[in-house]
Amino acid sequence: MQVNMLVNGVEVSDDIEPRLLLVHFLRENLRLTGTHWGCDTSNCGTCTVWMDGTPVKSCTVLAAMASGSEIMTVEGLATDGELDPVQQGFIEMHGLQCGFCTPGMMLSARWLLDHNPDPNEEQIREAISGQICRCTGYENIVRAVKWAAAHSQKSDTREEVGA
């Protein structure tokens, strides 16, 4: 079947099997391998992407269901080569080690900051609680999101997409 979607601002269309998962469509058909797969059961959240401005776990979304939608992956976080403050925050505060859960974590963090520019620790922990990290014990992810909050410009263009 034919699917069409806007991925990181680029129109894509492809003829796919109806059962193809969004995570596999992104990774294999579009070769956007920054979105990772980790569990199949929606528990780990490493496959998190934005669909029409909302984080979803792309291992449990059919690519067909995403047809007509706007998708943002980790590859869409930076603007004109400039890292998003969330990406910079993860670097500055050592919010990642193996890097596998990181794309999904950053997309949830960006969504949180778009809706709550100055979250407290509890709100940050709640926002990333659908995702598992095995390396960091979450502490430095929380610090990274706080760093990003402190360094985010209020006029961030993504705010409109995420709102």
Binding site: E17, R19, L20, H24, R27, E28, R31, L32, T33, G34, T35, H36, W37, G38, C39, D40, T41, N43, C44, T46, T73, V74, E75, L77, A78, L83, Q87, Q88, F90, I91, E92, H94, L96, Q97, C98, G99, F100, C101, T102, P103, M106, E121, I124, R125, E126, I128, S129, G130, Q131, I132, C133, R134, C135, T136, G137, Y138, E139, N140, I141, V142
Partner: protein, 792 residues
Amino acid sequence: MTDVKDKPDGVGFGRVIRKEDARFVRGKGSYIDDIVLPGMLHGAVLRSPYAHAKIISIDTSVAEKHPKVKAVITGALLETLNLAWIPSLSHDVIAVLATDKVRYQGQEVAFVIAEDRYSARDALELIEVDYEVLPAVVDAKRALDPGMVVIRDDIENKKDNYIFDWGSGDEAATEAVFEKADVIVEQDMLYPRVHPAPMETCGAIADMDPISGKLTIYCTTQAPHAHRTLYALVAGLPEHKLRVYSPDIGGGFGNKVGIYPGYVLSVVGSIITKRPVKWVEDRSENLMSTSFARDYHMKGKIASTRDGKILGLRVDVLADHGAFNNTAQPTKFPAGFFHVFSGSYDMEAAYCSVKGVYTNKAPGGVAYACSFRVTEAVYAVERMVDRLALELDMDPADLRMKNLLRPEQFPYTSPTGWEYDSGEYPRALQLAMDIAGYEDLRKEQAEKRANGELMGIGLSFFTETVGAGPKKHMDILGLGMADGCEVRVHPTGKAVVRLSVQTQGQGHETTFAQIVSEVTGIPVADVEVIHGDTDNTPFGLGTYGSRSTPVSGAAAAVASKRIVEKARLIASAMLECSPDDLEWTTGRWQVKGDPSAGKTIAEIALAAHANLELPEGVEGHLDASCVYDPPNLTFPFGAYICVVDVDPGTGKVKVRRFIAVDDCGPRINPMIVEGQVHGGLADGVGMALMESIPFDEDGNCLGGSFMDYLLPTSLECPSWETGETVTPSPHHPLGLKGVGESATVGSPPAVVNAVLDALKPFGVKHADMPLTPAQVWRAMQGRPMRTDLAIQ
């Protein structure tokens, strides 16, 4: 050498952001499943639904007719290649594909190779296997009962499920200590079967070039060189035609040490199809079939005087090794380093025995950041010390302080023969208590108890045992546990360092550059780290058991020191003076008493490649290598304090605070060390409260997905409070000890001790992990349950 204040910015040890992050935050890492080769096929494994069953027949004919299937491999085919069975890491064999019987649920039965991932999975459904189901051995405690079904009837004359008996320490001396002791406390405890569960599962791509005969194996391996040699030894493949390439790894924690059937099947698949074959397991396959950890049933017995001087400790272990003995540890030590179980305390005698048995469960046992079973050892001793404190009605902190090894006892020889390199234990415990505000916490607890609230404070003190070899005592299948390193300074003064170890998130690309920088004065930014590729790195045993910094880090330091010494000779030729007239300042040799006359390492490097006439015996270029065989292990240590609140209505545990003081010697990069500690603490909370893989009476695995195998999220973890003391290792060239597993090893007993401390008003003396709400609630009722079996 470790004082960063002496050095210019960007050189040596200190907080530096990581080199690897630039690609990871952009989604540009390259993990195994991100790699696509031209013409690549996809493999999928058919697994046993039964824990124990005879294979009557396997019919692959329908699957083979699937239009996208290229090949189906069964055990019968592997038998023709002599690859149906391969040696395990512990004097046993493992089945690549089952031929006679399946021996655990999830065992590999057939391998389908198809043009795409989905088709390979589809075709699994088309394979018909006729099984005759056998009774399963699920309870390790009954594995040796007379008349129990024999799991390993593939072993000639095997009549039972016994694997080994092993012991360490002086049993007679320990028993003599128990004879004279005022107080003896005994406690049975289980360290349940858990799983490292890295976010990225295991996988491989095998690519056999039929023209050159060169086989490249892209693989999630923590030990690429060991893998290559084992492939050569087992399959008879010529080692110079084998390249193992370990790409970015999405977490390892010991899960990616061993060679799994899927890797071997990818290789066979590529040889058969003459195309690259990728195999990446799914989460259930990962949890059900790859290396589990722990599964130690321990009987502890501790002796002390009435006033709390610990005299002796005995632990007898029943070790559930699953269906094949495939634990990964140095050959001599079938229980890993469990015999370091006397821990951090001064005592007269100690003895442990370990009995290994087969059950119808997945093989493994040494994994999950355990430092070769130091995790189980620390849990045993730290629970026994708390049990003793309960019996003596002593504060567990006082009891520990009274018995900790004193600084003047180092180097210390333990009752089982370990030589601890260095330690200042009371200082670390005191710091942890100061950060925690220990006395205030006890006061708060007393007030809360008076109100019926359940607050607990738990301590643990651990001594880690990491950095294996030395190779005269330690090998993996005959390969001595040493590591190589090569450092080359380019003509312009930039450098490349090649490692035998492989990062799985530890940040080697940054920290090893810092080691080279620390010694040579070349800025961290100017040092490139190459690792994970056997064609481009020196031989070594790999990253596990927290051995990268103690062993490979030492190799990098020694090679770098050789660079500096060679640079001295070249500088002396440049400056036309004697080498003895030169002194080293960071990155520069200069004439003693005349700092203006000197040459930087970059100037020296250029001269080494140019037409300068070098002193006799000095070759051109500026490079050096080292194979480091450590003289001893290193012994990092730490003091941990956990504070919990338990809901008396539901049994739910909330970890309110966790204080961790770690001493791993000098810290290469404090940011990375702290991050590793954080991750290990989360492991401890997970194991203590959530994680386990139990089985039902038929041997069905009940922890086979993240729906059932629960891992801690941001909500279960508190904001970690960390502290640091620094006691350098006397034998490591930079005093470094390693830290990767410290917190995973040290934290579980602190959490468990805290929960049991909270439950003290109920008279609860012990309950096994995981302390789920159900387990805590049952403990409050006086009926804690076995956590290894679903049937009580």
